[in-house]
Amino acid sequence: MSWLLAGIGLIMTAGLSGLLAGRQGGGGEKPACALLLAGTLLAGGGIAGALAGKLEASLRLPWPVPGGELALGIDGISALFLFPLLLIAAAGSLFGLGYWTRRHHPRGGRRLRLFYGLITAAMLLLLVARNGLLFLVAWEIMALSGFFLITTEEHKGEARRAGLIYLAATHTGTLALFALFALLEQAAGSFAFPAGGTLAAGGAPLFLLGLAGFGLKAGLMPLHIWLPGAHAAAPSHASALLSGAMIKTGIYGLVRLSSFFAEIPPWWGWTVLALGALSGVLGVVLALAQHDIKRLLAYHSVENIGIIALGLGIALLGRSHQVPELVLLGIGGALLHVVNHGLFKSLLFLSAGSLIHATGTREIDQMGGLLRRQPWTGVCFLGGAVAICGLPPFNGFVSEWLIYLGAFRALRQGPLALQLAAMVAPALALIGALALACFVKVFGIAFLGEPRSDGALKAREAGPAMRWPMALLFGACAWIGLLPWTLAPLLQRAALDWSPLAAAVSLAAPLAPLHWVGLGGWLLVLALAGCGGWLAGHSRRAPRDVATWGCGFARPTTRMQYSASSFADFLAGLFRCGLLTERHGGRVEGLHPGPAELSTHTPDAVLDRVLLPASGKLAWLFTWLRAVVQNGRVGLYLLYLILTLLALLGLVLLT
């Protein structure tokens, strides 16, 4: 534990070195990165040691805050959140050396590194906190540091707006969490986290408050309003940390909260399942309609949170109906997807960062042909794309496979109500197919074809400081995809920590096919490599100097290629009632039409369609009320005084 604390201390102070360094020069870039890396190594060693039983796994120290206690602990659940967090933070910090150099971004670089360390340390603390007050303190540090990361480029209006919405959303969530922990204190007797499975039933308000507070952080639809703007506005390695790790703290909160209860009513599981399916499908459909690469990736976070919620819902239903296999598969799948999404989403954000760095734009339609110019970035992005679509042989498949297996097992046991949980499988299939469509679009439009703009034409491969972190995350994704059984013990341990019910099932049996999944991945890789190597060798001497056949059109231009919007148009049309894409222009008229323009824009389904108009109306209402009440006539103010006094008099007389 002391190792972990030392690591947290190092990470927290990593950015301070930048403040001490002078305004000129590197601004303490390298020392900050080195401190952060050292901190992650220390913390990682501490966690691994605690899990292996070599170091103590819990710590209690007095804290002069009323009701508070510095209670820390590491268990299977925490570990599954901690390891990806450390990896992402380290990779992002290294990436930042090349991506956000002092030379190119003289403003805000020091602040970025300070809050990058601070948010990492706060998340580490939050994940090991075993006391409600400590948890809230860490939560707030994390939330505020997140705000400063999002507004790194505060001179841009878009970043300020995203930061403001984020701040409002996160504090609404914190409000719910205050109420949650106050109620939890009443139920458990102290602010210390109750042991697993000790709280009696009747936690409906607790569950709903938790769902609101943690759901807002996690980005569950329809509480995802802050997420797309925030992820798009932050620098890419900060987005990787926000999307890969920070939104998972919401999932962690839900998992931890649900572990306290002895009994879980079935409607909890169904609520989580319904929200998960909604987030999954709508998240990916909204992503499909985007053409800003980072906004698109942000919507995919909503989708993946939905997949995680589907797994969690199955596990909750398994606990309500006392089916241990469902508990193990559901929570195992959900937690593994937490890890996986952390890895492949940060990989995608980092490679998107490399693209943006090279081309200077976030618009997919301005890119093209980048695989030739950025081969490393391209391969890393392709790996992340295959992983996020849940395709073998990468890690996304393994966790989705566990959730599928849970859905199919629900069919075999239990009452009819539980069997309906099998509907998760078609929902997941739809989500997966849509994600595939979306990533074919992104990879195909951004990396393949011909460059669509000058920026894309002049793009150069990223430097080693940016390439290595991507390669590291790529390796981690491939590792979980090809050797999935190495994680089985940790998953079983986390399932046991979450619910003692999981102990009832022979732990090895439901996870045994993981060996087969790994073997399938190896076979696939070997067959593809063999066949591909042969074909590549065979075709080496083939001529490559002809243009793509353009249907006889004499002077094709690169603007004639399919664009991101045209690729998604058919699918977006099928979901038009959920998307309501706005189209401007695009009509050509007459026999000899002149130039025409078409632009499409898909606003957020909740924020732009519901919340902003509604709050605009509310603001107008209150402005009007204020104008009526406070209109500047002194006589009227005196009347208010007299009326108030009369009301008080009446109150006194009545009581």
């Binding site: 030739r372 069919l411 699918l571």
Partner: protein, 304 residues
């Protein structure tokens, strides 16, 4: 024993897959009143493509070759998970059906990206259509698998399509019938057959799968043709098993029954192709959503 079964599986697949294409073409020719190409024409085509050289556009990268490679490797690997009639799959484990479905997802990913690699609008169009229709077909497949899993009580393709199927027809015949219809429609979509797509058309604006592979040539195109022939066989195998749920225990007899079933399926595909026109593009999503509803209905029947 596993090795022997593995070899038999691969032998059946590699040898007979192109024959099915020949049977379909011959059936269509007969319906049109022509004598048609020889049954073995697909083999000749493959051999001819094998000897040819490559032509590459200067826009393309290595991804352009990844498409044909996955299109060949994926049906090969997927065939190891699916029983060929009464011959059980060489590899079988709980949840292999998900791997089966997702392997084809991988093939679709790379076929579509390889199409986009040429930078041609036509191939972009085909790729967009392919991934769109897959979104609508995928839930149907999962619903069908859920029905089968519910009827058989298993989680691997070997149990789903195992000896219990014959008894399943007695208890849940209506559901299995609906599932068979759905699987047939999915087979037509996935293998780009009329009424969803026309493998013989040469009008790029209406094509789906064919337009995606328009720029492939030589052995790479051969891999694609061979891969799609194997895909028809691998995706048809569950359907044939569903409709012929008996086994004799004799290896040779079972293999012959399976092949006869596959040939009958090929004739059926040919008949459908000859007797129907291609659907308008906007109608295809409606048909696919209808198929999904049909498979949901099958699930409702079996859950009640």
């Amino acid at each position: 024993m596993t090795i022997a079964r593995l070899l038999l599986h691969l032998f059946l697949l590699l040898t007979f897959a192109p024959l099915l294409q020949g049977v379909i073409a011959r059936t269509k020719a007969r319906f049109a009143g022509r004598s048609g190409a020889p049954l073995l024409q697909p083999y000749y085509d493959l051999a001819r493509l094998w000897r040819k050289g490559f032509v590459f556009s200067r826009t393309t990268t290595w991804v352009f070759l990844a498409g044909p490679v996955t299109a060949l490797v994926v049906p090969l690997l997927a065939s190891l998970l699916v029983p060929f009639g009464a011959l059980p799959a060489p590899f079988s484990f709980d949840g292999d059906l998900i791997l089966f479905v997702y392997l084809f997802g991988l093939a679709r990913f790379f076929t579509a990206t390889a199409a986009l690699d040429t930078g041609s609008s036509f191939e972009g169009m085909g790729a967009a259509r392919e991934v769109t229709f897959a979104c609508l077909a995928e839930p149907t497949v999962l619903f069908a698998l859920i029905v089968l899993a519910r009827v058989s009580g298993g989680l691997s393709l070997n149990t789903l399509l195992g000896p219990g199927l014959a008894a399943g027809w007695q208890t849940a015949g209506a559901s299995l019938g609906l599932v068979a219809v759905c699987l047939f429609l999915v087979l037509l979509v996935e293998n780009s057959r009329i009424p969803f797509d026309d493998p013989n058309t040469h009008l790029e604006l209406t094509m789906i799968h064919e337009v995606m592979v328009l720029d492939h040539s030589g052995p790479a195109f051969g891999l694609i043709l061979y891969g799609s022939a194997m895909k028809l066989m691998v995706l048809g195998a569950p359907l044939v098993r569903l409709l012929l749920p008996w086994q004799s225990g004799n290896l040779l007899l079972d293999a012959l029954v399976f092949l006869a079933g596959m040939l009958a399926l090929a004739v059926l595909v040919g008949v459908v192709e000859s007797s129907m026109a291609r659907l308008r593009l906007v109608r295809i999503p409606q048909v696919l959503v209808g198929t999904t509803l049909l498979s949901m209905f099958a699930l409702v029947l079996v859950l009640r």
